[in-house]
């Protein structure tokens, strides 16, 4: 309670020391653009084949070779970018602050088409072979033809006026798209017409104030052999069977980060910084790591036998998937980390807030 500080805030937990069991090896690292800005936008990178696509908040999109980090091409849209990078068969999509979806050619970064939407798109545009679906901040899904950008259909879900910043990002399968909304609903729509197939209420809002009633689904639905796992803010972690949309099990949880899975567990990076593992079948809580309280942990990624999580100070924490004890730690970016990470062939790719792109391995 400092004399000048005035406002007393909730303090993030200090770093605990531990016996490192694995050693972090950095394959390569390079600096990409001017970073992700402070507007709390989760500008996540994306990997497609041998190429990593990253971006910065001022509108520059980079394609970098996955092996050595060398830049393949760079396009400058010269307008602020809001959503992360979406990748398709031969396409790279980003969304701008003025509400446009810009589709670039994956080979050379040339602009293929541009489509004006009615609101901001804060999460990566998802694509399958022929349609690209953007999820807007005002609760709309808009599907566009992947080659021409022509609007095919749009689905509107009524969301409350006060929501959490950021949206989930839909799974676009061959004939159905599954998306989680800020009203705590998980919805499946037909790709051909946008008509609603089914809708499940993941969490029911309680409490009086708008604050207590926030139940956004900002995590991306996770599909593992026939079951969709989804978590909402101030609500529940739920497993839904993809075939008949029945809720298999649910556990109390609160997270706005995407999920990860490994060793039969589902890993949740809770809102208060706790990392928890739930058994995929029985939903029992296998272990819970509480040392990262209030450190604004990012979405978890599974790397080998560990599960990795970044935090607001830019530290990358590796925990054993078996019981959650710390295995290694490495500081990626002093500006902190927000975006989602990516793992391909046991290599973890991380884009820090200052624009530092790192590829690293554990051994």
């Amino acid at each position: 309670c400092g004399w000048w500080g005035g406002e007393v805030e909730i303090e993030p937990a200090e770093l605990v020391d531990f016996q490192a069991e694995k050693e972090v090896q950095v394959l390569w690292s390079s600096s990409v653009g001017s970073g992700l800005g402070e507007k709390f936008n989760k500008l996540s990178l994306a990997v497609n084949g041998e190429v990593i696509y990253a971006l910065d908040v001022d509108g520059k999109v980079f394609a970098v070779n996955r092996g050595d980090g060398k830049e393949i091409w760079k396009t400058d849209l010269d307008t602020p970018i809001l959503g992360g990078v979406g990748v398709g068969p031969n396409h790279v999509a980003v969304t701008t602050e003025s509400g446009e979806v810009v589709m670039l050619n994956a080979d050379d970064g040339a602009e293929m088409w541009r489509q004006q939407l009615s609101s901001e798109t804060l999460s990566p545009v998802q694509m399958n072979t022929d349609i690209a679906v953007a999820q807007l901040q005002n609760g709309k899904l808009v599907a566009m033809d992947i080659s021409t950008g022509k609007r095919l259909w749009s689905y509107d879900s009524q969301i409350p006026r006060l929501t959490l910043r950021g949206t989930s990002s839909p799974i676009v399968a061959s004939n159905v798209t599954i998306a989680g909304f800020a009203n705590g609903k998980l919805v499946a729509v037909r790709n051909d017409s946008g008509a609603e197939l089914w809708e499940r209420q993941v969490t029911v809002p309680e409490g009086k104030t708008e604050l207590e009633r926030l139940i956004d689904i900002d995590a991306r639905p996770l599909y593992i052999n026939g079951v969709i796992y989804i978590v909402s803010y101030q609500g529940r972690l739920v497993a839904v069977s993809a075939s008949d949309a029945q809720i298999l099990w649910s556990q109390k949880a609160s997270s706005y980060q995407s999920l990860a899975a490994g060793f039969g567990n589902i890993y949740v990076s809770q809102e208060n910084g706790f990392i928890e593992a739930f058994d995929q079948r029985s939903s029992a809580s296998v272990w819970r790591q509480t040392a990262l309280e209030n450190r604004q942990t990012t979405a978890p990624e599974v790397l080998g036998t560990t599960v990795a999580v970044g935090d607001f100070d830019g530290y990358l924490h590796f925990m054993s998937q078996v019981d959650g004890h710390f295995v290694a730690r490495y500081r990626v970016d002093s500006d902190g980390m927000r975006g989602d990470m990516a793992v391909v062939d046991d290599v973890l790719y991380v884009l820090g807030n200052s624009g530092r792109l790192v590829a690293l391995q554990l051994n």
């Binding site: 005035g6 406002e7 507007k39 959490l164 104030t209």
Partner: protein
Amino acid sequence: QSFTVEDVRLEGLQRVEPGLVLRNLDIDSGQSVDQSEIAEATRRVFRTGYFDDIRIARDGNVLIVRVQERPAVSLIRLEGNKVLEDDALLEGLKQNGLREGDVFKRATLEKIRQDLLRMYAGQGRYGAAIEAEVEPLSENRVALNIDIKEGKVATIQHVNIVGNTVFSDEELKDEFSLKLPGFWDFFSDSDKYAREKLAGDLERLRSYYLDRGYINFTIDSSQVSLSPDKKHVFITVSVTEGEKFSVGDVTVAGDLVVDEQELLDAITVAKGATFSRREMTESQDALVRKLGDKGYLFANVSPVPKINDDNTVNLQFFIAPGKQTYVRRIAIKGNTKTADVVARRSISQMEGGLVSSAAIERSKQRIAQTGYFKDVNVETAPVPGTDDQVDLEYSVVEDNTGNFSASVGFSQTSGAILNLSVEQDNFLGSGNSVGFGITQSDTITEYKFSYVEPYYTVDGVSRGYNIYSRETHYDEENVSNYSTDTLGAGVNFGYPMDDYQRLNFGFNFEGIKVKPSNDVSQEVTDYIDLEGDSFNIFNVQLSWSDNHLNRKIFPTEGYSQSASIEIGVPGSDLSYHKEQYKGRIYYPLSEDSEGLIGSLRGRLAFAGKLGDNEYPFFKNYYSGGLSSVRGFDSNSLGPRDSKDDPFGGNVAIDMSAELIFPVPFIKDSSSMRTLLFADAGNVFLTECPVGSSGCDNGIKLDELRYTAGFGFSWLTPIGPISIALSKALNAKDTDDERFFEFALGRTF
């Protein structure tokens, strides 16, 4: 089995009133009760929530009710709250039914946490965290210790408008009151998110488009989102602009009780112009006012836009006049010192007469123009039981300047003033202005009596007279050194030419004796040789004034101008003519009434000789000082006589531009005014006065002096005080500059 209760005895009561228990028990002596009725009574008492345990026993025919009171909260201790003070929080809890001395009920703890969290959420502090626990005290009382972490206020991180093509984001965001944290955001709270402010901003955004022709503009969605750490707020507004429309033909329909052309003239919306909702509403108000002037106070005008497909919109104003309304009674409130008639005579709306909204408003302005009141408001209340009669109530706030200004004053020009005069416009609240007294200072000794009755007749014909004897030592007032003894008497009267203009006439007699002091300047001695040193002058003054200011004390709007001519009538010892024009205009620069006001002021004066005698130098104009060009010693500008003392001139020009801004840091600043000013002015001599060895005569505009500075006026109970801090911009080394000027008895 039941038994008749002879008496009821209560045991274990400490704080709660016996009456409360008995009322809920609801068993009175002589009533026969059985087991189930007693159980029911116990449940009723228990439901009051004051008791932990209730046991009913029977002693013969006496019912014994033994209660165990729940602990009372004797103290609520708050820890860690800085932004919301203790009593603000306690007050909030009290409103939700929890205060010291209350009984501590089970759900109280959780309720406290929720109430406090809600209070902080209301302040935009979504990140607050609160823990409350109970600490038992002696005598069945408890203390509640509440530990608060207030967290930061959620600031606006990002305002984004999507879908706007015609106007840029920056242009639109200027209209918002919610701003991104600016460099001085610690001062304003415009970056703190509040839902009502957002609603207001969206309305301003809509008006911005509707006022520029985009009649089909819609706001599709306005999304407010919060960062997970609850410190930042993001606002996204998606809009559809639609086409730009211009005005088609404008018509008036419905029960036109006033001839159509007069109504059409009141409408400012022109055919072919870009459609603007603001203009449409202004025209609507103009029509309502026009109908109000003709007695239809409750008239209703509704503009009906009809959209054509050629991007034009036809506007039809539909008129529903309602009944002609009359004023039954006019009440005047708040005048504890001023007589009712003094305010009532300025009201042109008559009791028992047809209502005219223009007259009601104009009367409010006329009362304010008397200068006796600091603030005037009018309210119209329909008379119950009738649909065509209203009562008016003019509420005034009296100017608190005291009746007497027997004061010891000080001003640069005349040093310490010992002033035992009663200078009172609204003498004893009679509305007449009376002045008598003695003023003694090193430049002026004056005995005077003046009396003016502004409303000698009921239509505002004013009449008054004054008698004075004054000895002015100009040498003290750093003007050429001579002094004058004047004995004068005069009569004046005036009358209104219309609602705003007045004509005033004055007939005065002056006996002036000029006394040159020892080293007097050549001009004075030569003048006296030529014309002698004592004169009896009979002069006639005719002045015209046109006053549209909204009030006399610290006007904020409107203009006023006056032109006057004074003729020393040929045949008296000295004849001359003096003409003067003065003008002032105030113009509010920002919509809200408390904002900036610009004002311009100007004086143009000319004088010359009439008949055979030379123009009397002691009737010269002077410039410099608080009333003309601030920043120069008073009367020091203009030509100098042979003794290098200011001689004045027969032509005077001064102008001033002022920027009036709200008084910072002071809440009730209705009796203060702060302004920045730029003055310019000087006096000139068209031809050299007799006896001067050569003077730079003629009106030379490059001789005008410019100054700029800060002015402050304050209406204190003992009289108005004015202060000016000014800097001359093009002073010559011979000028006497004056950085700080102060005077009691004048306001800017």
